[in-house]
């Protein structure tokens, strides 16, 4: 078990190294000179040469790579080359809690909707309720999350004035200001995920309810709620846990887009603004931060999986 953990952890490190290396070389393979973007107003050959020396861009690529990587290991992502020129690591540390809050609340809302919906759907198979859940789930999967975000703003912020339309308040400003700014974006991010989970719970619950040990429990005369919640549901959750890794992927990808709708300056907004401004150090930093969240969240899910299902052994 511990051997497996060590191997998985080392694997995650290797993936991060591969991503960092790919990002480094791909961004340097782009046609066009990023310096032209910084110095577009100067256009002086000497100024460009000076800046190249200052940024170390006149050195061979492998030297740049080693230096860049060495700084990266120390948590130095370089400075933004657009506007304020502040450190990329600071931008990312400010963005990180926003994205994690958004993804976390989206997860909670999605589970709170999907678990009851999936259970009802399975227990009342082929009823009108089941069909409704199925159709709503399909709709949720097919809706672009950014559009859902816009619709939510129109209804709940612009017309009903229940919740703020855009922006973010840190948790230090109080629980409700923080939460109220995140509810609408979290619904937009969590909806496709809720749809997938509801469908999965339905099918895995139906599978479990057909199994022999449930029949035994029934024939012993156990109460039906006891069969459902004590015997069936925990086992029906196992396949759901396997897709938690996918959940992280969905929630993060959703956050990247939806942050831009709700003007939340999280990792997604930082990434997109960096791309639009051709601010390569920021783009690199944001890509690495988003990637690190995926890789380590997946690692966590694998570990969690062994805890939840004792039948699984890794050696």
């Amino acid at each position: 078990m511990s051997g497996y953990l060590v191997r998985r952890f080392l694997g995650a490190i290797v993936v991060m190294w591969a991503v960092a290396t790919l990002v480094f070389f791909m961004l340097r393979a782009i046609p066009g000179d990023p310096l032209a973007a910084i110095l577009f107003d100067v256009g002086d050959a000497q100024a460009i040469a000076d800046l190249k020396t200052k940024l170390g861009l006149d050195q061979p690529v492998y030297v740049q790579y080693v230096k860049w990587f060495w700084l990266l290991l120390q948590g130095d992502f370089g400075n933004s080359i657009y506007g304020s020129r502040i450190e990329v690591s600071r931008i990312i540390m400010e963005a990180l809690p926003r994205t994690l809050s958004l993804a976390g609340i989206a997860f909670v809302i999605a589970i709170a909707i999907a678990v009851p919906a999936g259970l009802i759907s399975a227990l009342r198979k082929h009823s009108a309720l089941d069909h409704t859940v199925t159709v709503v789930a399909f709709l949720g999967l097919s809706m672009p999350d950014f559009w859902l975000g816009i619709m939510l703003i129109i209804v709940f912020a612009a017309n009903l004035h229940w919740l703020p339309a855009i922006g973010y308040q840190p948790l230090s400003e109080g629980f409700w200001p923080w939460l109220s700014h995140l509810i609408l974006p979290a619904i937009a991010v969590g909806t496709p995920f809720a749809a997938i989970i509801a469908r999965m719970i339905r099918s895995s619950m139906l599978e479990v309810l057909k199994s022999d040990y449930i029949n035994v429990a029934r024939s012993k005369g156990l109460l039906s709620w006891r069969i459902i919640f004590v015997h069936a549901f925990p086992n029906a959750l196992i396949p759901v846990v396997t897709v938690l890794g996918i959940a992280v992927a969905l929630l993060m990808a959703g956050a990247v887009v939806v942050e831009n709708v709700f003007a939340i300056k999280g990792l997604g907004r930082v990434l997109i603004e960096g791309i639009l401004n051709r601010d390569y150090p920021v783009v690199q930093g944001a890509i690495l931060a988003v990637s690190a969240i995926f890789v380590f969240a997946n690692l966590l899910v694998d570990v969690l999986y062994t805890v939840i299902d004792p039948r699984i052994h890794y050696d």
């Binding site: 993936v15 591969a18 991503v19 990002v23 791909m26 961004l27 393979a29 782009i30 399909f138 709709l139 999967l141 097919s142 809706m143 672009p144 999350d145 950014f146 559009w147 859902l148 816009i150 619709m151 703003i153 129109i154 612009a158 396997t242 897709v243 890794g245 996918i246 992927a249 969905l250 993060m252 990808a253 990247v256 887009v257 831009n260 709708v261 990434l271 997109i272 960096g274 791309i275 639009l276 783009v283 890509i287 988003v290 990637s291 995926f294 890789v295 997946n298 694998d302």
Partner: protein
């Protein structure tokens, strides 16, 4: 005697073609049938957009931000362009991007997957290391990364989205090949002296098609969503191109005054993706493909 003759006649009679059997099955499922009908209408309106669209999509001749009316069923936008015409032209781009990206991703991904599964060993290791790396990230994020490198524009979006979907096809194809290559007919082909290329592409590939078709259908809907998302973020097609995502993005500042600019583009996206999902779900049942969800 008559019995046997009858049975023989039955066996000799041509069975309905595979396509016809699938069509019959799809039409029996109301969700899939609806999906097929809607998709046909969309495809038709995409192809004949210049004939169907009431106005030129870039003609700014009308009242700005006019609500839905008889002249403009879906209203007009902030520059006085007819929204219905723009959305109909948008159907062209969305469907084109969806289908072309999946076609490219399918060819590259299946090619890699078949080679990895068939040759095994070193080839398998190299290909799958890369595929697994990509698998660790959601397709949309990879598409965003790639647009960051390639730059925006329709062609770059197509390249970025297709590369982002390659891993899905590679994994499906490889897992199919691993089971099929143990079949006796593959051994028979080898004994007869068929080359590796012939075995891979003529004998194995056709038998991997069912799950790949299902994966392809699902991927088209994700590719359409990806293009809409990229365009919405300003990372997609060139400004002023009428695509659903860009129309929505442009409309953002005016939505509080003109709800139709926000509602209709999204409905077009949702209805398209929904019909593809319905169809994909039915295809999965028809071809009896287990949902490909295992990640490890």
């Amino acid at each position: 005697m008559a019995d046997i003759a009858q049975r023989e006649a039955q066996e000799l009679a041509p069975r309905p073609s595979r396509a016809r059997r699938w069509l019959r099955y799809i039409l029996a499922d109301y969700k899939a049938a609806a999906g097929l009908v809607i998709l046909s209408v969309l495809l038709f309106s995409a192809i004949f957009a210049p004939l169907i669209a009431p106005y030129d999509p870039n003609d700014m001749a009308f009242m700005m931000m006019g609500g839905p009316s008889w002249e403009h069923p879906l209203g007009t936008d902030d520059l006085g362009r007819d929204l219905l015409s723009r959305l109909l032209y948008g159907t062209r781009i969305s469907l084109f991007v969806g289908i072309s990206t999946v076609a490219i991703a399918l060819v590259i991904g299946v090619g890699l997957g078949v080679m990895a599964g068939y040759f095994g060993g070193f080839v398998d290791t190299v290909i799958m290391r890369y595929v697994d790396l990509q698998w660790a990230f959601p397709n949309f994020i990879i598409a965003v990364y790639l647009v960051a490198v390639f730059g925006t524009g329709l062609l770059n979006v197509i390249v970025a989205v297709s590369l982002a979907f390659v891993d899905d096809f590679a994994r499906v194809a490889r897992s199919m090949v691993l089971t099929i290559k143990e079949e006796q007919y593959v051994a028979a082909a080898r004994t007869l002296g068929a080359s590796n290329n012939r075995i891979m592409w003529r004998h194995i590939l056709p038998n991997t098609m069912a799950p790949i078709i299902v994966q392809g259908t699902v991927s088209i809907s994700y590719a359409i969503l990806a293009e809409a998302g990229l365009s919405f973020l300003g990372l997609g097609v060139e400004a002023d191109t009428p695509t659903w995502g860009l129309i929505l993005s442009d409309a953002r500042s005016f939505i509080s005054r003109a709800w139709w600019l926000g509602v209709f583009p999204g409905l077009f996206i949702m209805i398209t993706v929904l019909s593809i999902n319905f169809l994909g779900d039915a295809l999965r049942d028809i071809m009896d493909v287990r949902e490909f969800k295992e990640r490890h």
